[in-house]
Structures are given as structure tokens and as C-alpha cells.
């Protein structure tokens, strides 16, 4: 395009991809320079994952081509892509849990001596690479025992080898603590210095600011703009992503809080969390912040009856209850929205109507027989209330992440809970839907008088939605901050101070 004699590291040229009638990518073209960090941003469903799939050979484009270092490439699977120096690391690490770190790193390239596996060399190579990258991992440890962040490091160590041309990181920091994330930034900066091009997919503005040389915005499967990072400010970037401007803002609460709905006293699950005491009032939203692995989700799950070794007391509307199982807690008016939407939140192979009806089946059946008209009425009502895209007879698998999350939420709202436990309610959801979910939460608390406990790793979200913020560190409640006193800095200080032993 310009007079630069070097070909771009990667050129995406007029790439299109359709899934049945859905247009995932339409005529997308842009270039990535050698040795740059290129942020790829866009709402969920904008086409980022599809594009990654096309680049790595996971998906075949309907049209257009991918050009690596001036030569058109046509990878038929990710293995071929890796052989050509193109590797991708996804949000959910894809490792062999029963094998060691070294074995995972060496996958497919095991050093051998004769017909035998050369373990000594394999471990030494893995150790050298981990040290080189600054990841403090024992190569002989089993992957099953690692934290999410550590498994991600293993994935990266596996992807990085001598002839790496292009590394794609898909929301790499979503499960990382700030310390771990900065370690990852260092690695990315080093790769850039060595001439590797990095595609960085993220929803977090601050890390895009810190790392990216250029930014490409996708929206609804179309290329919106590629520009040097310095030319796009945050507001402009969000505007390009959503086609309008969205800000996460607090909405002042005018309705008074009621009496405590959920009270938790000295809740302990040995080795997971200890001596946790808090309460959530009618009409209140309490945010639960802390580092990943601090025990936040586990506390919410325990209240929902998912921990067998629980001690301490739980009261709902003043009445003591024993959280013996989800069914018992649902009967008491407690609902839990799990973090892992696709494995636990919805059943993708069933229809929207069946998903919404699932926890309410007892009230939607008589003598064991389904009352189908009631079921459909309920589904239609919730679909409208949450403005879920798609008809109630559509399969949930045909929906985007944001709409799946709405279905997961709708099924619980249909049970008319009094206490709503939300675990990362907007994890991986685009900015526009996120704001909708926040509005919905405010309405549920303030108008429908629910008590909401929201576990979230997204600090702007915690600050925008909560009336009060609990900070958990290493399984202990270390701070209980009224929203007026809560700031990102203060929350992080508590979260990390508690984390240091």
C-alpha cells in the first residue's frame, strides 16, 4: 500500500465467512506489521473469534485470503498453522491435565533418544523456556494442580518457539491477577522486540493502552477501522465498537434498603474460605471483589448449597437454612447464576423456552405432566422482559454469548428469587449488553426488591453497580466498603494486601 519494501507480517484480504444464514465476517481486510502488538477489539459477535479461526486454519473462509509474509497461506488445521509459526492461545487453556508441565510444553515435539522419550532433555528444555519467559513454574508439576493463570502460562510457553511469526492471545488476562498480567505484558514486549507480531484480543482498555501499537475495530463482522493506537482514544474506540457511546456510570439509588434478606455468619469451608460474615439487604446490590482464586465464587456457591463440608450459619429473611443442595435453596428463594455460562448456565442443545422453564418445571407441571401452554407463556414473557434475541423455539446454541447469558438469567428470574447470586454476570459480554445487564440488576434490586450478591473481577463494573463492596483475599473477608468509600485503588490494596501472607 505504501512504499515500505517489507511485506506485512500478515495481510487479511477480503475475508468473508458465513455460518448458515449468519454473517460472521464480511469482506474484512487489514495488515499487521512485523513486530507490532495489534489489538483486535469489538463487541461479542463482532467476528473476532471467527477471524482467529480463519487465520489459524480452524475455519475455512468462504472468500478472501490470508497472506503470511507475502505468501498466501491456506492452513487446513491449527497444527499446520503452528508449523508455519502462527499460534493462538485461547481464554480457556487446552492442556492435558494428567501430564506434567514439561510434557504439555513438548506436546508433538517430544525429544527422543532412539525409540524412547528423552525425559531429561524434555524437562531441561521446558525449564529453560519457562525461566526465559519469567514464569515461575516447576516443569515436573502436573497441569491438573495449576491455577488458571498458570495453565495459561504453560499454553504460552508451548506456543513460543524460535520461529514464531505471529502469536494470537484471545483475552489472555481475563483470568489473571494484576501481577500475573504484568508478567504477561513483559513477555509480549519481549516478543515484539524480537520481531514477533502479536494479536491481542481484549475488552480491557487499560491494557490495550499499555501494549498496543495499533488497533483494529470490528463490528458486526465488518472491519471498521485500523489505526495506530495513538490516534484512537478510549471514547472513540468504544464508539466505533458499539456504534454509539456507552459509559459505565453509577445510577444513584433513591429507594431505601429493606431488612437483611441474606445473612451469612462464620461461613467456613476448610481450605477454601474461612469465617466469612456478611449480609445483603432487600433492594441492595453487594459486589464481591478480589483476586481470581481468592474464594469468591466458592462462597456464592456455598450459599447455593454446592459445598458439602460447610459450617456456619445462613439465614434467608431471618430464617436459618441449611444449604444442603441447590434444590433446597431454590425453594427458599435463592438463585445462582454460574460463571461458566456454556457448561453450567444454559443447555445449548435445548430451546430457549426449555432453558427458561428448566428450574420452574415443578410449578409448570401438574402431577408430573408439563403444562405446555403455561411453559410457553412464561418463556415468552421472560424473553420479552430481557429482550432476548431469537424466538422461544430457537436453540440456545444459535445465540450469541450475551443472549445466552440473558437466557441463563431469565430462567432464574422466572422462579422469582429473593436472593440472587451472580457469578461474573458479564464475563466475556460486549459493552452494550453489559450496560443492559447492569440496568436489569438495578431494577431487580430496587423495584423487585431482591438482594443481589455479585461476584465480579471487573472493577469498573463492581464500582458502577454495587451499593457495597466486599473484598475477599485468600478465603477471608478483608474489607466491607460502602460504595462511597470504594475506589479501584482501595479495593486492589485490600485484595493484594490480604493475598500476601
Amino acid at each position: 500500500m505504501t512504499g515500505d519494501p517489507r511485506p506485512p507480517r500478515l495481510r487479511i484480504s477480503r475475508v468473508s465467512k458465513h455460518f448458515e444464514a449468519v454473517r460472521a465476517l464480511h469482506d474484512v481486510s487489514f495488515d499487521l506489521a512485523p513486530g507490532e502488538v495489534h489489538a483486535l477489539v469489538g463487541e461479542n459477535g463482532a467476528g473476532k473469534s471467527t477471524l482467529v479461526g480463519v487465520i489459524t486454519g480452524l475455519l475455512e473462509p468462504d472468500g478472501g485470503e490470508v497472506v503470511l509474509n507475502g505468501r498466501p497461506v491456506h492452513f487446513r488445521n491449527p497444527l499446520q498453522a503452528r508449523a508455519a509459526g502462527v499460534a493462538a492461545v485461547y481464554q480457556d487453556p487446552n492442556l492435558f491435565p494428567h501430564l506434567s508441565v514439561a510434557e504439555n510444553i513438548a506436546t508433538g515435539r517430544y525429544p527422543t533418544s532412539g525409540p524412547f522419550l528423552d525425559r531429561t532433555t524434555m524437562v531441561a528444555q521446558a525449564r529453560a523456556r519457562l525461566e526465559d519467559l519469567g514464569f515461575p513454574l516447576d516443569p515436573e508439576q502436573l497441569v491438573a494442580g495449576l491455577t488458571v493463570a498458570e495453565t495459561q502460562f504453560v499454553e504460552i510457553a508451548r506456543a513460543v518457539d524460535e520461529d514464531l511469526q505471529l502469536l494470537i492471545l484471545d483475552e489472555p488476562t481475563s483470568a489473571l491477577t494484576p501481577g500475573e498480567a504484568s508478567k504477561l505484558y513483559d513477555v509480549v514486549e519481549r516478543l515484539r522486540a524480537e520481531g514477533t507480531t502479536v494479536i491481542w484480543i481484549s475488552h480491557r482498555m487499560e491494557e490495550i493502552r499499555e501494549l498496543a501499537d495499533s488497533i483494529t475495530v470490528l463490528r458486526d463482522g465488518e472491519h471498521v477501522r485500523t489505526a495506530p493506537a495513538a490516534e484512537l482514544d478510549d471514547a472513540e474506540m468504544i464508539r466505533l465498537m458499539v456504534g454509539r457511546s456507552v459509559v459505565l456510570e453509577q445510577v444513584a439509588r433513591t429507594e431505601p434498603l429493606g431488612p437483611p434478606r441474606l445473612e451469612v455468619e462464620n461461613l467456613t469451608d476448610p481450605g477454601v474460605f474461612e469465617d466469612v460474615t456478611f449480609s445483603v439487604a432487600e433492594g441492595e446490590i453487594v459486589g464481591v471483589a478480589g483476586l481470581v482464586g481468592a474464594g469468591r465464587s466458592e462462597i456464592a456457591q456455598a450459599v447455593f448449597g454446592l459445598s458439602p463440608h460447610l459450617s456456619g450459619e445462613v439465614r434467608i429473611d431471618g430464617e436459618p437454612v441449611v444449604p444442603r443442595g441447590p434444590a433446597a435453596m431454590v425453594e427458599r428463594g435463592v438463585a445462582y447464576l454460574p460463571e461458566d455460562r456454556d457448561a453450567e448456565g444454559v443447555i445449548a442443545s435445548m430451546t430457549i423456552a426449555s432453558n427458561i422453564a428448566l428450574p420452574s418445571i415443578r410449578s409448570l407441571s401438574r402431577a408430573g405432566f408439563m403444562l405446555r401452554r403455561k411453559e410457553r407463556e412464561l418463556a415468552a414473557r421472560e424473553r420479552t422482559a430481557l429482550s432476548i434475541k431469537g424466538e422461544i423455539d430457537d436453540l440456545v446454541s444459535s445465540l450469541s454469548g450475551g443472549n445466552r447469558q440473558k437466557v441463563a438469567l431469565a430462567r432464574w428470574l422466572a422462579t422469582e428469587p429473593r436472593v440472587l447470586l451472580l457469578d461474573e454476570p458479564t464475563h466475556g459480554i460486549d459493552v452494550g449488553t453489559k450496560a443492559q445487564v447492569h440496568d436489569m440488576m438495578r431494577e431487580l434490586a430496587r423495584v423487585r426488591r431482591m438482594a443481589i450478591l455479585m461476584v465480579s473481577s471487573d472493577l469498573p463494573e463492581v464500582l458502577a453497580v454495587s451499593d457495597r463492596v466486599l473484598v475477599i483475599a485468600r478465603g477471608r473477608l478483608v474489607a466491607d466498603l460502602p460504595i462511597a468509600e470504594a475506589t479501584s485503588e482501595r479495593i486492589l490494596t485490600h485484595a493484594t494486601a490480604g493475598a500476601a501472607r
Binding site: G325, A327, M350, L358, P359
Partner: protein, 330 residues
């Protein structure tokens, strides 16, 4: 219309295969395509049909029960013993159904409450229940069944054998159970995603145990049909029948991984297998080779979705490769 064809594609395919198998059989014997003859052959597959219906919800839930043929043997020898002891039919049937339901529930409890793999559990009870059947029956087996216990296997409504009517009534019952009740809905949800079912506060364990108990009771009912048709019962009754039963379920479109499948499919698959088996008997195919065919059908029906997937992939890939832009690239 198109949507309806798509939704019932597996069932339509089964109907087509049944017609083909029937045409083949009729070339082997001029007596095959005769209503009375067809219905009389059908009664010998009622036992398999009842067991297949019982197994159906278990497989929909993503589990398996290979002990059902042994449970049938327990049911058959219990019925025979009670007949000889002079216990009235309905009382005997109630006791048998209760006992076989308990045997099924034991499987269910081991799987659902102790989290043991269902294949291993029911392989164990396959042996254990067979042993119980031998203990009850003794070495010689039980003969001298009283007429009331034989009625089901030796009576007709018009030209239709009573046991065939029983199978059709049970089929209708399962159609309602799986399509119209909370139990059915729970079963599909549990099979499709056990994690999501648990998080949705579904009574997963209770539903699993119920499915196993129901499967056991259906095997017990099949035991009654057995006694009424063969007029005796022994410890080794129906040994190996699980191959036919599981094939019927999977061939009927019930995914071995759980979450899908219809009652209509299971019924049609049983009819298809029955037609093929009858045809093979007419063609004097030895019993050992018949088992080979049924076993191959089981593997084919488990493999079919995979083959369809691969074929579809190959088709789209080859089309791409032939398109002008792709050629220009290479």
C-alpha cells in the same frame, strides 16, 4: 413441511429401511407379507421392545444399563415360581415389578449417588443378577406354569396378539413420559449437560435412580411376557439379549452420549431389527451370524452421526477446492 421432514429425518429413514427389509424378507418367503404372519412374528420381539423402552430414558440421561437381560431373567423366574406357588397373576406381577425395580434402583444408586461409571456398575450387576436368577430357579428351571400366567402369550384381540398390544400401550406410555412430563424434560436436560442440570437445581440423582428403577421394572414386565410365551423360566433366560436391546435404542436415534432421541425412533428401530432378524431366519442364516449382523448394526448406528459429519465436511471442502478463487490460490 421442510422443517417437519428435517425434525423426523431419522424416523423417516427407519421407515424406509423397514420397507426395504420387508421387501427382502418377502422375496425369501411367500408367507412373510401376510398380516397374521407379521403380527405373530411381531410378538417375539415384544420382549426386546419392552426392554428397549426401559433402557431408552437411561441412555437419554447419558448412562447405560447392560444388566437388563439378567434383570429379565430374575423377573421371569420370579413370575414362574409364584405361578407354581399359586399366587394370583396380578399379585405376582406387582411383586415382580417391585423386585425388578429395586434391582434397577440399585444400579441407579451406585451410579447417581456414588458416582460410579454405569458401564462398570451394570457389568457387575449383569453377573450378580444372573446369579440371583439361577439361585431362584435352581438348575432345572421352573415349568408347569398355570394358565393365568400364560394368558398374555396365548391370547389375541382380533388377529393381534395380546403381547403386541401391551407393547404398543407401553410405547404410548413412554411417548407421553418422555415428551410430556417433567421426568422426560429432566432426562433430556441431564443427558445434554449434567453440569447445567445440577446448577439449575434439578433433582439429578432422583431422576437418574428413577430411570434405572423404571428400566428394571420394564425388564420385569418383559419377564412376564417371557414366561407367558415360553411357558417356562430358567436362570439363563435372555442371556445376551442386551445386544439387541441396546442396538434398538441407538439405531432409533438415541445418542449414546445422551440428550437426544425419540420414542418413535426406538419403536421403529425395534420393528426394523425384528424384520431383519425374521428375514434372516427365513433365509436360514445361522444364529451366530445373526448376532454378527446385529452387532455390526450397533456399531454402524453409533458411527453413523460421525460418518455423516465427516461426509458433510468432505463435501464442503471439495466444493471449496473446486471454486475458482481457491484454485487461483493454489
Amino acid at each position: 413441511m421442510r422443517r417437519a421432514i428435517r425434525a423426523y429425518a431419522p424416523e423417516l429413514l427407519l421407515v424406509a429401511l423397514i420397507v426395504l427389509a420387508a421387501m427382502w424378507s418377502s422375496t425369501l418367503s411367500p408367507y412373510f407379507l401376510n398380516a397374521v404372519n407379521l403380527l405373530n412374528s411381531a410378538q417375539f420381539f415384544v420382549i426386546f421392545a419392552l426392554m428397549a423402552f426401559g433402557l431408552f430414558p437411561v441412555v437419554v440421561q447419558g448412562e447405560i444399563d447392560i444388566s437388563l437381560a439378567s434383570t429379565l431373567a430374575v423377573g421371569a423366574v420370579l413370575m414362574a415360581k409364584m405361578s407354581v406357588a399359586g399366587i394370583p397373576l396380578l399379585v405376582g406381577l406387582a411383586i415382580t415389578l417391585a423386585a425388578t425395580a429395586v434391582l434397577g434402583a440399585v444400579n441407579g444408586v451406585l451410579v447417581a449417588h456414588f458416582g460410579l461409571p454405569s458401564l462398570a456398575v451394570t457389568l457387575g450387576t449383569l453377573g450378580a443378577y444372573r446369579g440371583i436368577a439361577y439361585l431362584i430357579a435352581g438348575d432345572a428351571g421352573v415349568t408347569g406354569i398355570t394358565p393365568d400366567y400364560l394368558l398374555l402369550g396365548s391370547s389375541w384381540v382380533g388377529i393381534v396378539p395380546s403381547s403386541v398390544i401391551l407393547a404398543l400401550v407401553v410405547a404410548a406410555g413412554f411417548w407421553v413420559l418422555m415428551g410430556r412430563t417433567a421426568f422426560g424434560r429432566y432426562s433430556y436436560a441431564i443427558g445434554a449437560s449434567p453440569g447445567a442440570a445440577r446448577m439449575a437445581a434439578l433433582p439429578v440423582r432422583r431422576i437418574r435412580v428413577s430411570a434405572y428403577a423404571l428400566a428394571g421394572a420394564m425388564a420385569g414386565l418383559a419377564g412376564l411376557v417371557w414366561v407367558s410365551q415360553y411357558q417356562s423360566a430358567r436362570g439363563d433366560n435372555a442371556d445376551g439379549a442386551i445386544l439387541f436391546v441396546l442396538t434398538a435404542v441407538v439405531l432409533g436415534g438415541v445418542s449414546i452420549k445422551g440428550g437426544t432421541g425419540k420414542t418413535e425412533g426406538v419403536l421403529l428401530a425395534t420393528i426394523l431389527l425384528g424384520t431383519i432378524q425374521t428375514g434372516m431366519q427365513l433365509a436360514n442364516v445361522p444364529g451366530t451370524s445373526q448376532r454378527l449382523v446385529v452387532g455390526a448394526l450397533l456399531i454402524a448406528s453409533i458411527g453413523a452421526p460421525r460418518v455423516v459429519h465427516l461426509a458433510r465436511h468432505a463435501w464442503t471442502t471439495s466444493r471449496r477446492r473446486l471454486s475458482p478463487t481457491a484454485v487461483a490460490q493454489d
